[in-house]
Amino acid sequence: MEVTLLIQATDDSFRILEDARNQAKGLLDSARILEDAREQAKGLLDSARILEDAREQAKGLLDSTVGVTSETRQMEKQKIQTIFQGVQETKSGFQNFIVTFSLLFVFWILLSGKFDMFHLTIGVICSIVVAHLTHDLLFANVRVGDTMVIVRRFIIYIPWLIYQIIRANIYVACLALSPKMPIDPHVLRFRTKLESDISWVTLANSITLTPRTITMDIKDGEFFVHALDKRVADDLHAGEMEDRVAHIFMEADHIYIQDALDVARIYVELRKWV
């Protein structure tokens, strides 16, 4: 009886031991799986760090390649500096007026072609009146203080556009004259990085002016362009024109002076509080 009980107890303990060993084994297994997971996570983190590096490198690359906008940035930085240091009002309205006036007066001289005192006086008076009435129209959404630069850059932009138009003309002529007529019309749809309406319109009209492409519609920064064939579409996606327009209007990939102005106001408030 006693022996039977003992044997039974031993059996039981053995079984329990066995169970415990099994459980320990399972725990060990799961621990190993966790270890693996940790390893993997570590790898992921590493790769993320590599990616980060790559992005940094890419950014640096972009900065160095898109040199056209750096001048803009430099200028804006200076301006923001002055805004934050002196927290002064810019004389934007007056400058707009002066630029509008000089544009209109040049237009007047082109129309008139008379250089006697009387007609020049009339021209000055008319230009002042019209500029006074409409300077807020001509440069409505343009950021503060940039009108001079914009006009200069726009004038530089025009020869390039003409060159593009001539090139596209020749291309279309070749297409139309070639016996197979390899045209493949389709509608492109792309989102632009430009932000203000005047730059949208400049881009849209430049696209329309160039033969083989026509802007059909703009909806919230999304362009619908009808193009004549595939190569044209690739040209557009490459986005040289877009970059140049952005350069004119000092947009994309830079800080807004307008924002700086807004922040400057808050900044002044804060300084009062502190």
Partner: protein, 152 residues
């Protein structure tokens, strides 16, 4: 009928064009002596630029540039300039609209005085025509409804 247009291209292009249209109109008025044109044509072009503003930006925005009251004032002012020049000639003991008599106060030769008189009345005509063309279009397009309803 008139509310501001949604199309971004039309809005922007008209915004940029309006100053140049207006300057061209003034050029047409001022150079009526040497080239085709004169007060009437220039006034119509000025009126057309205002109509362009009206159909792209709607009545509310346009009223900021030229209000109904100033339209009435301008239309009266133009004809008053015209007939006023005539009355000045009367006061200078000439006949009505005899600009040659203006040489007495302008200190120029009679022929030059006539040219200046012509310029004066062209300006008057331009004012009136601008204001009236705009006002006719405004009335017709708002079509008998008070302007409040049109303001969306």
């Amino acid at each position: 009928m008139i509310r501001s247009s949604e199309d971004i291209i039309i809005r922007t292009v008209s915004r940029v064009l309006v100053p140049f249209i207006q300057l061209f109109a003034l050029y047409v008025i001022a150079h009526g002596h040497y080239s085709p044109g004169g007060g009437f044509q220039g006034g119509v072009i000025l009126g057309a630029s205002l109509v362009l503003l009206l159909i792209t930006y709607g009545p509310k925005e346009t009223r900021r540039h030229i209000s109904e009251k100033s339209v009435t004032v301008f239309s009266s002012l133009g004809v008053l300039i015209y007939s006023g020049i005539g009355v000045i000639c009367l006061l200078l003991l000439g006949n009505y609209l005899d600009y040659g008599k203006l040489s007495g106060i302008l200190h120029v030769a009679p022929a030059e005085a006539r040219a200046l008189g012509i310029l004066g009345i062209e300006i008057g005509v331009g004012f009136t025509v601008m204001a009236i063309m705009f006002s006719i279009f405004f009335d017709i397009s708002s079509g008998g409804k008070p302007p409040e309803d049109e303001k969306e």
